[in-house]
């Protein structure tokens, strides 16, 4: 049991670390990007730009909420 929890904890720390919101946000961007690509409703350059903007937005919002949290706890 200890080995299994240790194994998953190792990979959780390695991949997600202390920013689960970024990992979750990236998954959402990837899924939405894949669905848009499959639907073929955008020009590919528009889609890459949208995906890039989505990734930047995920990080920006993670930092914004981090600032809010730290601001409240100060």
């Amino acid at each position: 049991m200890g080995f299994i929890t240790g194994f998953f904890r190792f990979w959780y720390d390695f991949i997600i670390g202390d920013a689960w919101d970024i990992a979750a946000g990236i998954v959402v961007v990837l899924v939405v990007g894949a669905l848009l690509a499959q639907a073929d409703v955008l020009v590919e350059q528009q889609l890459t730009l949208l995906i890039g903007a989505g990734i930047v937005l995920v990080v920006a919002s993670s930092l914004y909420f981090e600032a809010q949290r730290r601001g409240r706890s100060a």
Partner: protein
Amino acid sequence: MFTPAAIALIGTTFVASAVEVVEAFTIVLAMGVTRSWRAAIVGAIAAFAALVVITAIIGVSLKDLVSESVLQLIIGTLLLIFGLQWLRKAILRSSGLKALHDEDETFREEQAAARAAGRETRMGLDWFAFVVSFKGVFLEGLEVVFIVITFGLAAMNSDTARVENGMWFAAAGAVIAAVVVLLAGAIAHKPLSAVPENAMKFAVGLLLSTFGTYWTAEGLGYFSPKQNSLHWYGAGDIPWPILGIFLAWLLLSRIAVSGLRQLPAARRAVVARDAAATAADLKPLATPATAG
């Protein structure tokens, strides 16, 4: 052979790997000094051997078994995983909201843990020193492995800056970093706290995030009806999209650092950090006066 792209590739993996090797070196040094050099070194060698096997398996399977767009998606996602974590930590450290990484502090913590741990011998080795060294080298090394594989494959498959045998150049950067850090560590015989780790992590975080964003978006073309890689606006001989993404991450980082520094908690931390740095600077000057 040594094209500008190849030199840039070696430089990137060198810097990224050096940061990780410094951290692994600190752990092995703490175990060697406090517990057992033999167990610490055997642990480090065992971890290195495990990493070599993993690199070979992942490298071959990625290169030969998947299509270009899937490769881009895997590479991009891996780069994003590390890049965004590094960038976020670097932004928080620069703003003062997170303590700067300090190898001296890490060394002291590892030594304290090593002294507190009980003595258990397995296969003739101090088991605590072996396990801690193995885990330290394996964990830091695994990041190096992913960086080498992703940058190596990225360079080999690039339309604009292709590097033949890119994997070897990427690995060379990591090996040079390991040799330089180990030589410096052997000479200094103490944690390499003078290495500007935080600045290096910021730079590498920016690079990893940039290439991660670029490749992930291109790789999502796998899900399009044609299953081809997607393209960015401005893609051509000059990699304008990569430059644009880099500038976007740089801009976001600067805005975030400036904004976070306005928080009361960050202001207090920066004042305390500056005071500690000033005290450290004055210490050598105060010694002769005190002695006199």
